[in-house]
């Protein structure tokens, strides 16, 4: 199970890196939105109660540092869509049948894909960490904070990939998976990724409270803005792990269902 999963993860990773048209949007779109938001909305930090939510005191971090977690979250969500499309394409071209016909546990096909998504998430996060070093003041909580960002991000990346794989296995075609792309933005804007939850109005604040992405974004944000000591990190870990477990199992179950229904 492990060797098959690792082999499939390495293969998925290699293929993704050879397909720059898949990888580039995961970095370019969130970076553009980061630039637009940072340039146009930075006065938001002047709103009363903006930083209190995160338990940071003056001197406050910049809005760019605040928005980095939103960009990371968006990138990870897009990574989930890209993973789903990749799996759907394998279903369409028949490569998936080759894997299913191999003497390996079927769960390793899903696990391999999710492990690769976790590894790709590290690449995506590194891009934004590099931006934070170039345009900001880096990760405020240093190396431990960086490790927290990588761990929460990678686990969340696996969870988002689980959503993509589940959709691909249920739909069986890439166009359906691709059609959920706009939903990424809905999920993002209905979370506290872009604004502190206490500044959101109803019903957005209620939805954000139930949206796991809010906790993941806040968990990623805390180490960047020097708030690792708050409950945000633990909540971020919990949301990411919950998401990864739930959708990882759902994807495996979807594969089982797909093979049985054939």
């Amino acid at each position: 199970m492990i060797s098959a999963s690792v082999a499939l993860a390495r293969r998925a990773l290699r293929v993704t890196l050879r397909r720059p048209q898949f990888l580039a949007p995961l970095l370019i779109f969130p970076t553009l939105l980061l630039a637009v938001n940072t340039g146009g909305l930075s006065q938001a930090t002047s709103l009363p109660g903006f930083w209190e939510q995160y338990g940071v005191t003056a001197p406050y971090p910049s809005f760019f540092e605040f928005q980095l977690a939103a960009a990371m979250s968006q990138s990870l969500l897009l990574g989930g869509v890209a993973t789903g499309i990749a799996v759907a394409l394998e279903l369409e071209m028949g490569f998936f049948d080759r894997l299913v016909a191999a003497p390996i546990p079927r769960a390793s096909i899903v696990l391999g894909r999710l492990l690769a998504a976790g590894a790709i998430a590290l690449v995506q996060l590194s891009w934004f960490v590099a931006l934070s070093l170039i345009f900001g003041s880096g990760i405020a909580d240093g190396i431990p904070g960086l490790i927290e960002v990588y761990l929460i991000g990678a686990i969340a990346g696996i969870g988002f990939a689980g959503i993509g794989v589940t959709l691909a296995l249920r739909a069986g075609n890439a166009s359906t998976v691709q059609s959920i792309f706009p939903l990424v933005f809905v999920v993002l804007f209905l979370s506290s990724a872009f604004f502190p939850p206490n500044l959101l109005t109803s019903p957005a604040d209620v939805i954000a409270k139930w949206n796991p992405l809010s906790y993941i974004a806040n968990g990623l944000r805390a180490p960047i803005i020097g708030a690792s000591g708050t409950s945000n990190v633990l909540e971020g870990f919990a949301a990411a792990i919950g998401l990864a477990l739930f959708f990882g199992l759902l994807a495996t179950w979807s594969l089982r269902g797909r093979l049985q229904s054939k």
Binding site: S3, A4, A7, L8, R11, R14, V15, R18, R19, E90, M93, G94, F95, D97, R98, L99, V100, A101, A102, P103, I104, Q260, K262
Partner: protein, 320 residues
Amino acid sequence: MAAIKASGLERTFKGGIKAVRGIDIEVAEGEIYGFLGPNGAGKTTTVRMLVTLLKPTGGTAVVAGFDVAREAAQVRRRIGVALQEAALDPLMTGRELIILQATLQGMSKAEGRERSAELLERVGLINASDRRVGGYSGGMKRRLDLAMALVHSPSVLFLDEPTTGLDPTSRFAIWDEVDRLRREGTTVFLTTQYLEEADQMADRVGIIADGLIVAEGTPEALKAESGAPHIEVVLDQGSSAEAAERSLAPLGEPIPAGEGHDVAIRLSDSSTGVADAVRLLDESGLSVAEIELVRPSLDDVFMEKTGRRLEGAATVADEQ
């Protein structure tokens, strides 16, 4: 023990579509079994059930000693599969794909590397081994597909239309490889829509139509069952067809001549040849432009069993 044994195998899809309607197949170890039928006859559905990609909805099938429904994992360890469309990742190289397949078969990295070099050499792809598969021709992809199916030296190999759409050179390369597998004692289940391929490659042939096996046996036996060969004659201008029929009467019964031919005689003795016919026509003073001995084909067998021609089927010569 049979390498493949299916009894009453059925597959009904959603909506009640019966693709395979209770077929019995028995393939001996080391045998090459040709599974012939037109598009949509149920060939691929049968193969997909035998290789555990599709669950049968009725009947049983045992492959390499294991039940395809209850012991699918054991079956998968013992079989090699090259499906209809060579499903290869275009972004990977030939070598990477074979090594991946070896890993999935439980081989170590070193074993995988060694086996990949051996197989790439065997299928003539060693010079293209580090090129991405997206740049391979159809024939190269097919050969790579075959190499991947052979990576763990399976005892039973399933080839689903391995030469469809290939140029003659690539087709002959696959035939050579299947012939080599025959000599090595591998059981091969080969589906095809090419009459000539089934005729030349298979020890035995099963003909499927509308989800049922309509004929089974060695190609020679099937053709013999279908009837004796016949002679078709094109006469020179001025020679009478009636006179030709009369002169050829000692050889057999006249039958309707094919398009472009004047006379056709079904031979009562299959050992009779063209020479006898030419002699008889010459003795009657009839001049012949063209004469040919037509032996029954598997298409004739199909025609006899189903009342129609193998729609969509082709001979290699047709495609050339």
